[in-house]
Symmetry: C2
Subunit: 345 residues, 2 copies
DNA sequence: TTTCAAAAGTTAATCGATAAACAAATGGAC
DNA sequence: GTCCATTTGTTTATCGATTAACTTTTGAAA
């Protein structure tokens, strides 16, 4: 592997000059220096020179490494793949390496301190308790898809209010006037951050009010205590709802599993067909949404862009640039589970 | 951040001595040295000393970093989360950092060489073309869930033959004698490595021969050219199959989507019910397998263990230890989509 | 008591880059 | 032609650890 010294020897200059040329600290104001700089670059290229970041990092007090905090819970997905893809892309472009760090409950800061990162990325799966780790680390940090736990932490979130509004507008345009919002069952609520879901609901509510049917929003949230959630969890609630007069003609479910259960199983057992009698929208676009039958209309969060934007913000903070924030937008993917309400309804 | 010098000053010894103590190069044969070593360790602990791997890496020519090669195809999942979890765990225990690297088609070795990894992990999604990158890098490498492309590359795979056998044995024990193996459609086959699927099929075949029904294996593989695969792709094939005399009483599908399609949609349109009339097994356990109705019996690959074992092997190779290989085993998860065949069949 | 091999410790040099301090070259203004 | 601010280049020192070469200690054997 070629070093600065190798290039310097071949060009008859000092290593510092080579370093300056390659780091763009030579403006090339005079012909003589411009030519020399050119030659240095050529030789560097010829030798396939790549900076040794170990040495660079040692001297500059930086590491060009960013830690990605993940949980060590076996059940939770480590990180959404598309977020990861966006992070890798954008950090790569800025010459930062993305390193995975497991969060140990026992020794939370140990291997974390070892790494000496320049910054930290926190996925939204992490809980408040674990966020404490980063406070202690005193490093630039960005949280993806969750509110910042304190002022000095960056946060990148899509406009969840708008995401909810997107789903609602679609249904309103189809002619629906009474819409149910299917929330998590009690046992599931504990395991998920509420922030997104509340925003979605608020967005739905806003659009319905704008459309003049403010009281058409029906909250569906079963009280099942600690029992695990199954398709049956929602049955009693929906059955009694559909026995009454103000039955909703469309349902918005706060994740894909619930959407599928409502669309595929409950609609059947209620004697309804999706989408003819009942429209269903999922607020989370999962792979299964595209191959179930009917294919389920979903709101897709801009995961890849979330990753890219988080990287951009964090690099900005590390390098004291603080670029203006952008808010990635959610998209509606219209599939086969939504249609105008049945004529009689 | 404390350095060796800080500890050395406080203990009245040289930095080299501190380094030796902390790296366990002092045997403590004499009381005087044992005591001194103890004191050094105490002070190190007190100051919260952590080795600066930038300096260590610079001198030792190692980086303690392992690159994880991933595709840059937007559609493909970057990496299976459970594999990743296993990798993080095991590398963490061995003090290696796991760094994500995007594979650029254009400039395949550039940022790769920058990183100067000690080794490489390759996920099974990568294709032969991309494997070329690692050959050029000349580093210890391990491929997860795919055969090694050359002798000097490590490979960690579960026993896929046994995985197929597992599914077959389950069905045979239930009393099935004619079993269909649902392979990918033509258009999908191109996008997936065939190795696993061939092994699964071979395992199924072996078990059926052992059970004395060697000709009971029915291959189901639609010829749909380049048309995208949908639930309808399999309909003609299955319809004609179920019109004939030798209809299978059970189907093994080579992924979750196909299993779901066969179990949920096709069985209905054929006038069969799952599992009463038709049993279905998925060779890939995906989240949806657990919440669809019926919940689908699946073979779960030991993803987490694959990650752990890959890390173990690679660290062994890097540190010239070459531990004996272990083969993680697949497991059968019995759910509601399998039952004894109907009496008449 | 002397001798000696093993163990422990010290000093000096090094990995590859960059920062700081200083010296030299340059082109335009006077 | 001289002066000067600017740009460029050089020398020296440094980041924090480890290796190499060498010296000192040590406990036991002779």
């Amino acid at each position: 592997m070629a070093t600065l010294q190798d290039i310097a020897d071949r060009c008859g200059v000092s290593t510092v000059t080579v370093s300056n040329v390659l780091n763009g600290k030579i403006k090339g104001s005079w012909p003589s220096s411009a030519a020399r700089a050119q030659r240095v670059r050529e030789v560097a290229n010829e030798l396939g020179y790549r900076v040794d970041w170990r040495a660079k990092a040692l001297k500059t007090k930086r590491t060009y490494m960013v830690g990605l905090l993940t949980t060590d819970k076996p059940e939770t997905q480590v990180i959404e793949g598309r977020v990861l893809a966006g992070l890798i892309e954008a950090f790569g472009e800025a010459s930062y390496q993305l390193v995975f760090v497991r969060v140990y409950k026992d020794a939370p800061t140990a291997d974390f301190a070892d790494a000496r990162f320049d910054g930290i990325v926190i996925d939204y799966h992490l809980e408040a308790e674990e966020l404490e780790v980063i406070r202690r680390a005193q490093l630039p940090a960005v949280v993806i898809n969750a509110p910042a736990p304190s002022d000095d932490v960056l946060s990148v979130m899509p406009d969840h209010l708008e995401a909810g509004a997107l789903a609602a507008r679609h249904l309103l345009e189809l002619g629906h006037r009474r819409i149910g919002f299917v929330d998590s069952s009690e046992s599931e609520q504990k395991h998920w951050p509420r922030h997104m879901i509340e925003q979605w609901r608020a967005g739905v509510r806003r659009e319905m009010r704008n459309a003049g049917c403010g009281d058409g929003l029906i909250e569906i949230e079963p009280r099942n205590g600690d029992a695990p959630e199954t398709a049956d969890t929602y049955r009693p609630l929906l059955t009694s709802l559909y026995a009454g007069p103000d039955r909703p003609t469309a349902l918005i479910a706060n994740n894909g599993t619930r959407a599928a259960r409502v669309a595929l199983r409950l609609s059947e057992s209620l004697g309804l067909r999706c989408p003819d009698d009942l429209s269903v929208v999922s607020m989370v676009d999962e792979p299964a949404m595209d191959w179930l039958s009917p294919r389920i209309t979903s709101v897709a969060l801009p995961f890849r862009d979330l990753g890219r934007e988080a990287a951009r913000q964090l690099v900005g903070r590390i390098e004291d640039a603080d670029p203006e924030p952008r808010r990635p937008r959610a998209e509606l993917i219209v599939r086969d589970s939504t249609a105008p309400p049945p004529p009689g309804a």
